[in-house]
């Protein structure tokens, strides 16, 4: 087999293996076939292994042949020639996508192995691995996407799986509320992404990154749109990246996301999902080169997020929230690096940070237990580390503006007060007016079976969704 054909095969293998995992787990669930824990875990392992093998195979070919980019064309998913409308399925293996895909496979594999034990005999074991499969496919499609539409496809899969995994412990209301909160932020990000993709499509006449970003390979390609257009498109993409990565002003969802099981927190909010926004900015980084205001905006968002994350992390009272904001700090720095044009540095930073954070988050639940076991074993307290060895977050020094950082900059409260509450009030009022109008038209005869509500065994403590309770819920 020729090396180029082999590389194409490896490329398809990298994408197909997570797709087949989702297909097998999904079809089994649809048909009501219960897969054993062992079978589910084995399927996941095989899929990740083959995907990783495919990615490494492409990397080996790239290194061996000195190629910097290998496109894998699947073809037109949808094509309307006369309208010049194409949904082109194309994957690109280059210096950006291959490391990110390999990182995704390695971390997903690690977390899959961890979850196999961590979630053993959990009622939602199968559900976790179904969402995990959706996430893995979404990450790989996003990482390897060669067109902006394909990237959007993966982006949406990641968003859905994230929201559903945050609500994994679905019999409690708080994880569910937090899952919904994250979904709302993601929908805003998705809307911005979609708008940017369409604008870009209109400006360049193609959804292909190669067409939009010039003919060069990443990171040397040059955008073929003017600075003003690049700025508007770039700003929309920046909103999308900000929402997806939990940067300011959308940082409120980061600690909420920790409601999910530890493996999902580790893989999504410590490692991969949270970096997807930065990855998007890296992918469209040629746009930054042609618009100085856009670069300034990117650096500003990154800088503010880094400062915000650093201070907020210092006053958090639980380890997962502290880690979430510590991630935000690093993410802010990564975005600043992207804005300043240090693209390789940003890529290396993403990889290093993702690996470290995964380790920290996977270790977090058992760390305290281990300390207690050690103390029980030696019959005394563990010796305190010397103060100068402690990180600033561990020192008991007062933090300036403690209340502000503890309340996470009042960002959630501000969004709630100025966006959610007026929206809810307005449409509850509209609903009330509609009801009155309809009732008047009906001659004030209410529906006969309006009270035909609810079985007695359903929860009997309805919490009406008034504007007040909406506010309370969102808080």
């Amino acid at each position: 087999m020729k090396p180029i054909v082999l590389s194409q095969f490896c490329g398809i293998l990298a994408v197909a293996s997570p797709a087949l995992l989702l297909l097998s787990v999904g079809v089994a669930r649809l048909l009501g076939v219960k897969l054993s824990e062992h079978a589910t875990a084995r399927l996941t392992q095989v899929s990740v292994a083959f995907g990783l093998l495919g990615s490494c195979g492409v990397l080996a070919f790239m290194l061996g042949a000195g190629r910097r980019e290998i496109p894998v064309e699947i073809g037109d998913w949808i094509s309307l020639e006369s309208e010049h409308f194409h949904f082109h399925l194309k994957f690109v293996f280059d210096r950006l996508s291959v490391p990110f895909a390999i990182l995704s496979f390695v971390l997903c594999g690690t977390v899959g192995a961890f979850a196999k034990v961590y979630l053993h005999r959990e009622a939602g074991y199968e559900r976790f691995f179904l969402f995990y499969a959706v996430f893995l496919l979404g990450m790989i499609v996003s990482a390897l996407a060669g067109t902006i539409e394909t990237l959007f496809l993966g982006w949406e899969l990641v968003g859905l799986s994230s929201a559903l995994l945050i609500a994994y412990f679905q019999n409690r209301p708080i994880p569910v509320r937090n899952g919904l909160h994250v979904w709302i932020v993601y929908r805003i990000a998705d809307a911005a992404f979609l708008a940017a993709a369409l604008t870009l499509h209109h400006l360049t006449g193609a959804g292909d990154f190669a067409g939009m970003m010039g003919n060069g390979v990443w990171p040397d390609s040059i955008a073929n749109i003017d600075g003003r257009s690049a700025m508007w498109v770039g700003l929309l993409l920046l909103v999308a990246a900000t929402g997806k990565s939990g940067m300011v002003p959308f940082s409120g969802w980061l600690p909420r996301a920790m409601e999910g099981p530890t493996p999902s927190s580790a893989i999504f909010y410590g490692a991969l999902s949270v970096h997807l926004g930065a990855y998007l900015l890296l992918r469209v980084s040629p746009l930054l080169d042609v618009s100085l205001p856009l670069r300034i905006a990117v650096v500003a968002v990154g800088f503010v997020s880094a400062i915000f994350g650093a201070y907020t992390a210092r006053v958090q009272t639980d380890v997962k929230s502290a880690l979430a904001y510590a991630s935000l700090t690093q993410l802010g720095i990564i975005v600043v690096e992207i804005g300043l044009g240090f693209r390789y540095l940003a890529l290396v930073h993403i990889i290093g940070h993702a690996l470290l954070r995964t380790l920290q988050l996977l270790r977090a639940p058992s760390l305290l237990q281990d300390y207690q076991n050690l103390e029980n074993a030696i019959g005394d307290r563990l010796p305190r580390a010397q103060d100068d060895l402690l990180s600033p977050t561990c020192k008991a020094e007062p933090v300036t503006g403690y209340r502000f950082w503890y309340e996470r900059g009042y960002l959630d409260a501000a969004l709630q007060r100025f966006l959610v509450r007026p929206f809810t009030k307005l449409f509850l009022l509209a609903g009330m007016l509609e009801d009155r109008w309809t009732m008047w038209l009906a001659g004030n005869q209410p529906p006969r079976d309006a009270a035909r509500h609810h079985q007695s065994w359903l929860p009997s403590d309805p919490k009406r969704l008034s504007a007040g309770s909406v506010r309370e819920e969102a808080n």
Binding site: W77, I78, Q170, L198, W437, R448, W457
Partner: protein, 485 residues
């Protein structure tokens, strides 16, 4: 005009009519339900055969073989074309699944005979392209719902009746004063054409539930059985009326102005869905938002927008039809679901939860589902008219997405309940679930044949407006025929 190889249209209309008479006899309602399922299934088969036959012909339009109605009326009354051909099986499928998934305990509340009659009227409407007969069929379609509301359920039908009378009045008056040559120059309309077009449009918009004349829909969902309410709105006869009666005569600027009104409704209804606390009304607003998007696409009068709208029409029929069936199944077990609290039904009905999520996501155009392409094309077509219009479509779908996941969480999660009865899906519901899932995912993963077919229909519909660039040939190329197959 080309002929189908068999009188599929007449058969598809006649079968439910005969069925509606037969199911009146058995006193055992379960037996009546089984008979209804048989007739609805036979109707679906006839509708599918009609579609296959039509696609194989490769023509834009065709009429029945051995057309008995034409022999009496001396003109081709029952005609199928590229617009209505897929709507036939879609409507038949929705009726079949609704009847089939009706639980034994609810058979007495749901009129099988009335449902089959309304199926026959709807199919007749979809096979009628213009003229007084179409107006009459749209008017007759009001009757079965009124019968259920007023006679069977003893509910106030005033809201429904006021709106439907206005709808019928507008259609009748508009069509009566429409000049015979109105379709010759739609972009240079005379005064009479403008008035007639305005009346026809207003009538069709009432039937489609465009704000602020949408309250009859929420009222209908409150007072009628869920199945009847869903089947009244889901096939979107109002949109069909616009395509047949308004598109040929309305000037482009007027159509695009109506598109903007439809988009406002889409955003408004999606916003209402986000704060709604009743499951039926949530469904109503979701449907309203989506149907308004379809209307907006139909009225953009651009080929790509129209293609998107036609794709969306089918995808919404399947996805929101499926969502309605799930809600109906849940309602038949636990009563009207209050979305102001968490109901925690996942553990008892995981399959219904899965289908709720799948159909809901399909309706908002989630990638990999049948709705994805329609929404993409719609946004593309809307953005071509104006970026703000495109933005409105994006906002509406984003809000609907929030409403659907919120409803999913409220219905299926958030608490744990112990049920004294089994809430698991019954075999009939499982089959309905699997059929819909297959169609939603199949159409989403392999969208090209459907999109090509809808694009071809859109091109022809646009080209039939005077002043539009004519198509070189009104027959499909062999390649397109193969694609459609």
């Amino acid at each position: 005009m080309p002929e189908l190889h068999f009188p599929w249209l007449e058969l598809a209309i006649l079968l439910p009519l005969i069925g509606s008479l037969i199911v009146r006899f058995p006193k055992d309602r379960e037996k009546a339900r089984r008979i209804s399922v048989g007739f609805a299934f036979a109707t679906l088969l006839a509708a599918i055969c009609e579609w296959i036959d039509f696609v194989r012909l490769g023509q834009f339009e065709a009429h029945d073989h051995w057309d008995v109605v034409a022999a009496f009326a001396h003109q081709n009354v029952l005609v199928i074309d590229e617009l209505s051909a897929p709507l036939f099986p879609l409507a038949a499928l929705l009726y079949l699944l609704t009847i089939y998934s009706t639980l034994k305990t609810k058979v007495s509340r749901f009129s099988m005979s009335g449902t089959l009659v309304s199926e026959a009227i709807l199919l007749a409407t979809f096979s009628c392209r213009s003229g007084w007969l179409l107006v009459a069929l749209l008017a007759i379609g009001v009757a079965p719902v009124y019968h259920e509301l007023s006679i069977r359920r003893k509910e106030s039908a005033r809201v429904y009746l006021i709106h439907m009378m206005t709808f019928i009045g507008c259609l009748t008056l508009g069509y009566a004063i429409l000049p015979a040559d109105a379709a010759l120059a739609p972009d240079r309309p005379g005064f009479a054409t403008l008035i007639a077009g305005g009346l026809l449009t207003f009538g069709a918009l009432i039937r489609s539930g465009i704000a602020p004349v949408h309250c009859w829909m929420t009222d209908l969902f409150d007072r009628a059985s869920f199945g009847t309410a869903m089947l009244t709105v889901a096939p979107m006869p109002g949109a069909y009326a616009i395509m047949r009666l308004v598109l040929p005569v309305a000037p482009t600027w007027a159509m695009q102005a109506i598109a903007v009104v439809s988009l406002i409704t889409a955003v408004y209804a999606a916003s209402m869905a986000v704060v709604e606390t009743d499951s039926r009304r949530l469904y109503c607003y979701l449907f309203l938002s989506h149907s308004s998007l379809v209307l907006a696409g139909l009225e953009l009068v651009t080929t790509i927008g129209l293609t998107g709208a036609l794709c969306l029409w089918i995808s919404i029929g399947l996805s929101l039809g499926g969502l309605g069936l799930v809600l109906r199944s849940i309602e038949s077990r636990v009563g009207r679901v209050d979305l102001a609290r968490y109901n925690g039904l996942y553990d008892h009905a995981p399959m219904l939860a899965g289908l709720f999520l799948l159909t809901g996501l399909a309706s908002i155009g989630f990638p990999g589902t049948i709705g994805f392409v329609g929404i993409e094309l719609m946004i593309e077509g809307a953005a071509a008219v104006s970026p703000i219009v495109g933005g409105a479509v994006v906002v509406a779908t984003a809000l609907c997405g929030i409403a659907i996941i919120r409803a999913y969480f409220r219905i299926f999660t958030g608490t744990q309940v112990t049920s004294p009865i089994s809430l698991a899906a019954k075999p009939s519901e499982r089959i309905a679930v699997i059929v819909l899932t297959f169609l939603i995912l199949g159409g989403g993963l392999f969208p090209q044949p459907g999109v090509s077919s809808r694009h071809h229909a859109a091109e022809h519909l646009i080209s039939r407006r005077p002043g539009a660039a004519p198509l070189p040939d009104h027959t499909l190329t062999p390649q397109q025929v193969r694609q459609n197959q």
